[in-house]
Structure formats: structure tokens, C-alpha cells
């Protein structure tokens, strides 16, 4: 028995080894800060809150007059996105451009005057008499790449598309110039993907 004991583990040694390994694992886990997938919800939540704040504030009219006319900045931007004529007067056709400026100034603003580095891509979803559901890319800072971890925020925006004449009739066209929305009040869904970049 004694002669042939080489190479065998005895019960006490097994338990000792188990304890040593357990203690090691415990110490290792306790001394390092590991960022698990479960914790990303905090920064996601912060980004989602910020994004939904930005859309909500862009959709809040600035004055009593705008409030009664139901025209927030966001409503104007979506309504006046592209022009049917080549050089229209005013800012009516600059919706995506103005959206980009305002979105970035709201989302990237810090109270110390510096700027954060958030990227976004905004899409508008709609339906009209001919298209059950359609969408078009509204504005974006750059394309989202596989490495970007984006969060998604959305907001329903009410668009008054009843006006059929006058300088505001530059609205709701695709970049190709085709009309998107019907001539009525309607809601469109604005979806914005936001990521740090």
C-alpha cells in the first residue's frame, strides 16, 4: 500500500486544494472591478434619458404663440425637410440641417461650456395613402458601425400638413422630391439612434 501510494490524491488534500482554489477565486474577484454586460444598462439609461429629453425639448414650443399654433422646432424641421424648387427662400427647406444643429447643441452641451461627443442617426417613419409604412433617413452625423453601441429613442410628432399653398409648401418631400405625407394632420415616428463616438 505504502509502496504504491505515489500519484494518489487523498481526501484531505483534495479538500485543501478546493479551499485554496476557492480563496484564490474569491480574492481575484474581490480585488478587480469588472464591467459586466448587466451594468451597461446604467450608461444606456443615461443616454436614453438624454435622447428622450432632447426630442421632448425640441418638440416643446418656445412661446405662447407657437404653442397655440402647435409648431415646435421639431415639427417645423420635419415638415420643412426638402424643397421642390431649387433655391427656395428662407429656411423652409433646411429641416434636416437645422435639426442637426439643434440636436447636437442640446445633446452634446455640458454646463462647463465644453461639448460631449455623441453621434446620432435619425429616421422618420410614416404612413400615407399609398405606403402602409415607409421611412426615410432624416439626418445623421455619420453611419453607425458594428463597433458602436447605440441606444434607441423615439417620439411621435404631430405634423400639420394641411396647408397647400404659400412659402411653407416645401414640406414632406423625399430627397428625390416626391411627396411623403398626405394633406392632413398626421403623426410620424421619429427614431433616433444615439451612441458615443
Amino acid at each position: 500500500m505504502v509502496d504504491h501510494a505515489a500519484g494518489q490524491l487523498y481526501t484531505i488534500e483534495g479538500i485543501a486544494a478546493a479551499l485554496i482554489m476557492l480563496v484564490t477565486a474569491w480574492i481575484v474577484l474581490g480585488t478587480t472591478t469588472m464591467y459586466t454586460p448587466g451594468d451597461t444598462h446604467i450608461s444606456d439609461m443615461q443616454l436614453e434619458q438624454l435622447g428622450s429629453d432632447v426630442l421632448a425639448m425640441m418638440d416643446t414650443p418656445n412661446t405662447s404663440l407657437e404653442n397655440r399654433a402647435q409648431t415646435s422646432d421639431l415639427q417645423k424641421f420635419i415638415k420643412n425637410n426638402y424643397s421642390a424648387v431649387s433655391s427656395p427662400p428662407g429656411d423652409y427647406h433646411k429641416g434636416p440641417e437645422l435639426f442637426n444643429t439643434m440636436f447636437l447643441s442640446y445633446a452634446n452641451g455640458l454646463t462647463n461650456g465644453r461639448a460631449d461627443h455623441l453621434q446620432y442617426a435619425a429616421t422618420v417613419y410614416y404612413r400615407n395613402a399609398t405606403t402602409p409604412t415607409g421611412s426615410y433617413e432624416f439626418s445623421r452625423t455619420r453611419n453607425i458601425t458594428p463597433g458602436d453601441h447605440a441606444v434607441r429613442v423615439t417620439r411621435w410628432v404631430l405634423i400639420d400638413n394641411t396647408i397647400t399653398s404659400g412659402p411653407t409648401d416645401y414640406k414632406s418631400l423625399t430627397p428625390a422630391g416626391t411627396a411623403i405625407l398626405d394633406r392632413r394632420w398626421q403623426e410620424v415616428l421619429v427614431e433616433v439612434l444615439i451612441w458615443r463616438g
Binding site: A17, T36, Q46, Q49, S64, S105, G109, L110
Partner: protein, 372 residues
């Protein structure tokens, strides 16, 4: 027994099994282990988030159950302000009151850090914090310590801040139609109307809760428009400085008309005004009139009209400016044309849609809360 060297023994199996069971047990505890590792950070983030929500979506709470905590005077703040919230109303999350923001940064009312820990951060731990707001990219307000280099809980909110309304009244729009010895100009603030016509608190003009201002401008226009008086030198208007006409402001007082009550003056009798952009307020009186070249401004702070005994929500307020045309040649007040409400029905109403009134505007702002 001679050939047992290559076998696993029962002993080893027993030990290995114990290890595996323990290992599996530890593995199932791993998510919980990380909670311990990052627990404080998660807690800080949650506190920062909660503080952000209270500030942006809650109008606050005072001891009587209403949300008008900003009107409570310094001495009563520790007892009576229960929660600091900046929202205009709970129906308008994200639209903040400039009055509430300014009040909460007032160091005579709130002590740092106890008042804030008690009324906005909450929790049993004495958290350290930094709350900062940047309105319209220009106005920076903050309270708290400098943020640490290490980890801290954080939230950033995008909001709009309701600004005060004001009025700019050009003298030429309210000139008397005939010559008169008395020149009283009385802009009217009809509180009932103001509160009724716009019921969305985010856009309402409410003199009882927010500051209001009346600026009378272009007073020099009066000097050049005295067709009956000799203020011209061979047909050419004399420069304002050398003219023998001086527009004097003799008095400013405020009267109130409540339903089924007579017109009464509300104190103070004689009110501070700013003349020609000066930074020192003066109180014009019949006995000590002030000369006006270009403009007269009067500012009512947010608590002025709401003070006990001054106005109710059904009051009409008249701010009465009494002007005189002083002739320096013979030291008398002349009859002439001047800004006037009574001769020519030039009633000015501080109201929505008036070309002379700037209604409240919502300006974008960034709010950051850090907790550690």
C-alpha cells in the same frame, strides 16, 4: 493492488466533487459578487438620476401642500420647504421656472450642503454632490463641490427655462392727442385676464409668480413734438440738453381694482424706477422729480404682487407714471403733448398679443447632477 497507479482514487473523486460543487456555487454567485464590487457606483448613479428627476419634473413641495416654495422667505425656508423642484408644474416636465432655479441657488436661504441634502438629494448618507445649470449657453449657476477624479454618479438632462415677460412701450405710440397740463400714463395688468387667456403655465404671464417689467422708451420723442410750445430755435429743434423743456417724472404709484371694491393704492407709495439705463434706482416724487431724457424702467420682482394685501388673482393693477413738462425759462409746468393714458384713450394693456409686450420665452438649458 500492484496495478493501481493509474486509477483515480475514491479519495480524489470525493475532493474533486467538493471542489466542483463549491465552484458551481461560487459561479452562480458571480453576478451578486459584482454588485458588491460596483454597488456604490450604482447607488450614486441612482441618486443622481433621482435628483435629476426631482429637479426637472417636480415643481417642489412646501409645508402647506402647494408647490410654491420659492416665495417662502429666508427665515422660514429650513422648516417650510420640503422639496426643491424646478418644474413650472407637474403637467410640464422639463419646463423649468427661472424663479425657482434662482431661489434654490440663494445662499441666504439654503445652507450648503445640509439644505440640499435634506431637500433635494435625500437618502441617509451625506452624499456630496455638484448641481449645475447652463441656460441658453450663457447663464451658469451651480452649487456643490468640485467633482472628484474618480468615479461618481452622474446624470445630464436637457430642459427649457421659462424667462420673465417684459414690455417696451415707445412714447410715440401713447402720446396725448391734445395739449394737457396733466400727464398720467397708466399701463394696466389685468391679472384675471392674464391667467385666463393662457392657461398653460409654461407660457402664462403671471405677475404674481414671475418678474414683470415696464420700460417706457423713446421719451426724447416728446421733446420734438410740442407744436404749441416754443421749444424750437428759428424752426430748428434745440438739442435735448439745451432745450428749455425738461420731461420730468413726478411720481410713480400703483393702484389696484378688485371686484366690487373701490380703487386703492397699494404700497409702497412712490416706487423705485431706473432712469435712462442708470443702475441706481430712484424714487420720483412731486417734491423731488427726476428728469428723463430717453427711458424709464420699472421692475417688479416675482414676489412683489403676491405679497400679503397687494393683489389677488382677480385684481386689475395700474402702474401710474405722472409726467410733467417743465419749462426751465419760467420754472413752471407747461401744457403740452406728452405720454398720457387719459387724454386720447391710450390705454396700454400688459397682455398677450400686444406688439409692445415680450411674452415669456422658453430657453434651452443643460442640467448636470454629479453625486459621490
Amino acid at each position: 493492488m500492484k496495478h493501481d497507479t493509474a486509477y483515480l482514487s475514491i479519495d480524489f473523486l470525493a475532493g474533486f466533487t467538493i471542489f466542483m460543487v463549491a465552484f458551481i456555487w461560487v459561479a452562480t454567485m458571480i453576478p451578486g459578487l459584482f454588485v458588491n464590487v460596483r454597488g456604490t457606483q450604482i447607488d450614486y448613479d441612482a441618486v443622481a438620476y433621482r435628483t435629476g428627476v426631482i429637479l426637472t419634473e417636480d415643481p417642489g413641495w412646501q409645508v402647506d401642500g402647494t408647490s410654491e416654495w420659492e416665495v417662502i422667505d429666508d427665515a422660514r425656508v429650513p422648516e417650510e420647504v420640503k422639496r426643491i423642484g424646478w418644474a413650472i408644474a407637474k403637467e410640464n416636465p422639463g419646463v423649468l421656472s427661472a424663479v425657482k432655479i434662482n431661489r434654490s441657488f440663494c445662499s441666504t436661504a439654503f445652507t450648503y450642503p445640509e439644505s440640499y441634502q435634506d431637500k433635494v438629494i435625500f437618502g441617509d448618507m451625506p452624499y456630496r454632490f455638484n448641481i449645475s445649470v447652463l441656460t441658453n449657453g450663457t447663464t451658469y449657476q451651480s452649487v456643490g463641490d468640485i467633482r472628484p477624479n474618480g468615479a461618481y454618479g452622474y446624470i445630464r438632462r436637457v430642459v427649457k427655462v421659462k424667462q420673465m415677460s417684459d414690455s417696451t412701450i415707445p412714447a410715440y405710440a401713447f402720446m396725448s392727442e391734445g395739449t394737457s397740463p396733466n400727464h398720467m400714463f397708466s399701463p394696466e395688468l389685468n391679472i384675471t385676464d392674464l391667467l385666463f387667456k393662457e392657461q398653460n403655465l409654461a407660457y402664462q404671464i403671471n405677475p404674481r409668480q414671475e418678474s414683470t417689467a415696464i420700460n417706457i422708451t423713446n421719451v426724447s420723442w416728446v421733446y420734438g413734438n410740442q407744436s404749441n410750445l416754443d421749444y424750437f430755435d428759428s424752426g430748428v429743434e434745440k438739442p435735448v440738453g439745451t432745450s428749455n423743456l425738461k420731461v420730468r417724472l413726478l411720481d410713480v404709484n400703483i393702484t389696484r381694482l378688485n371686484p366690487s371694491e373701490p380703487l386703492v393704492a397699494i404700497p409702497p407709495f412712490g416706487h423705485e424706477v431706473y432712469i435712462d439705463g442708470g443702475s441706481t434706482p430712484v424714487i420720483p416724487r412731486q417734491s423731488s422729480p427726476v428728469v428723463v431724457q430717453e427711458n424709464v424702467s420699472i421692475l417688479f420682482n416675482s414676489t412683489f404682487f403676491a405679497a400679503e394685501g397687494k393683489t389677488t388673482t382677480a385684481s386689475r393693477i395700474f402702474v401710474n407714471f405722472t409726467f410733467g413738462l417743465w419749462n426751465t425759462s419760467n420754472s413752471t409746468y407747461d401744457d403740452g403733448y406728452c405720454i398720457n393714458s387719459t387724454f386720447g384713450n391710450n390705454l396700454f394693456r400688459y397682455d398677450y398679443g400686444s406688439p409692445w409686450v415680450h411674452e415669456p420665452v422658453l430657453e434651452p438649458a443643460i442640467l448636470e447632477v454629479a453625486v459621490w
